[in-house]
């Protein structure tokens, strides 16, 4: 029953987004204010994944068609998503998202947009182009993750060193998961 299946699919996507956005709304905001792990390893990827899955909705298909002539091979989408993701890897941005609520709103919106653009671009781009962007992103994430694990310098004034240490492992795990998912996706075809 395809209709039923897509209903549950949509519900779970909305569920992911509600949890991810909810983590930025008081009183749940305290969770990401206290834990770097919850913000960088749980909330941010959920926003991204939620955004990436939005292309099952008909509105987003329209958006995708409307930007298509500006987005050949998903190149523009990859580029914008890359810019957004790099910005949210900067420790100073993480601190600002904790301290300034408006920055946190920007974080929620831009990460969903980044997810949406990558989800869209994966349907349009050749594997070589995907490998370029995903490979670059994963390399950066692993570097950042290892740095978080090994440095004894606190990079975010908002978070404890202990929280930063575990975030490092989290980022490495996300990198591995990204590579695994992407390889599976390419080999499936």
């Amino acid at each position: 029953m395809p209709l039923n299946q897509s209903f549950w699919q949509r519900m779970s996507i909305l569920g992911i987004l509600i949890i991810a956005i909810g983590l930025s709304v008081p009183p749940f905001r305290a969770i990401i204010e206290q834990s770097m792990f919850m913000q960088m390893v749980i909330q941010m990827p959920l926003l991204f994944i939620g955004g990436a899955c939005l292309n099952t909705f008909s509105i987003s298909k329209k958006i995708s068609q409307n930007i298509a002539s500006w987005n050949v091979f998903g190149l523009t989408g990859f580029m914008l998503a890359q810019t957004i993701l790099i910005y949210w890897m900067l420790p100073i941005s993480i601190d600002r998202a904790v301290v300034i609520p408006l920055v946190d709103v920007a974080k929620v919106l831009t990460l969903m947009i980044a997810g949406f653009l990558v989800g869209d671009a994966l349907h349009k781009s050749p594997a070589a182009l995907q490998l370029f962007f995903i490979g670059y992103f994963v390399a950066m994430m692993i570097w950042l993750g290892m740095y978080f694990i090994y440095t004894d310098m606190r990079l975010c004034n908002a978070y404890s060193l202990n929280s930063q240490y575990w975030t490092g492992y989290g980022l490495c795990a996300i990198s591995i998961a990204t590579v695994a998912y992407w390889s599976w996706r390419v080999l499936k075809k």
Binding site: W70, I92, D95, K124
Partner: protein, 213 residues
């Protein structure tokens, strides 16, 4: 894979869009990191002061004998103060901060800088740190009163203004402790002039001497 419409016109559009995004990304990076100089909040705090000193608000503090004063007036006849932030129950980072200050105290004696440079430890935990707590802390860290003194806020409600004025972020840690960005703050009169990381104590002292001239 959908068959993309990759006519020359759309390809050029896409390339233009990509370049615009790239330029936007570079602009965003430069504006949010103080021209690439500050990837962390701590670094930003330091480089911002290189451009212009920051005025310290008039906050009333007490010393270990319960004498009132204002942070801006602590220097007395000394030219420059090196300030750090502590709480006297601290077992973690303030201990390393304490030992950095002990080294600085020794250096100041060795170089005969007692009349030029003072050391000040200000508590950000005024509800616990009263005059007696400061007294114990001064004793524990073997502070020489003519060089190094400890202070606490007279009014606990001033805590946030104190932290904001210096850019200190305090977060709760296990065992009823705090974790905070510890650094060496150089102040002269009512101005915050420079901030140095803990591992640059010697550089901070040299700068303090230079700034006092």
């Amino acid at each position: 894979m959908q068959s993309p419409d990759s006519s020359p016109a759309t390809l050029i559009r896409t390339l233009v869009a990509t370049v615009v995004i790239l330029l936007f990304g570079i602009w965003l990076f430069l504006t949010s990191t103080f021209q690439g100089q500050a990837l962390t909040t701590e670094a930003l705090r330091q480089v911002e002061l290189n451009e212009s000193p920051k005025k310290i608000p008039a906050l009333v503090v007490i010393d270990s004998s319960n004498q009132e004063s204002e942070i801006a007036k602590l220097s007395g006849d000394k030219r420059v103060l090196i300030v750090d932030f502590i709480y006297t129950r601290c077992q973690t980072v303030c201990l390393s901060l304490g030992s950095v200050f002990q080294v600085l105290q020794t250096k100041i004696v060795e170089l005969g800088l007692e009349n030029q440079i003072g050391l000040v430890s200000i508590s950000f935990d005024p509800t616990h740190d009263d005059a007696q707590a400061l007294q114990r802390y001064e004793k524990r860290l073997q502070m020489q009163p003519n060089i190094w003194r400890a202070y606490s806020l007279k009014n606990p409600n001033d805590r946030q203004s104190l932290l904001d004025a210096f850019g200190i972020m305090v977060i709760p840690a296990p065992l009823d402790e705090f974790e905070h960005n510890a650094a060496l703050h150089i102040i002269r009169g009512e101005y915050l002039l420079r901030i140095f990381p803990l591992d640059s104590a010697e550089e901070a002292l040299l700068q303090a001497v230079a700034l006092g001239k």
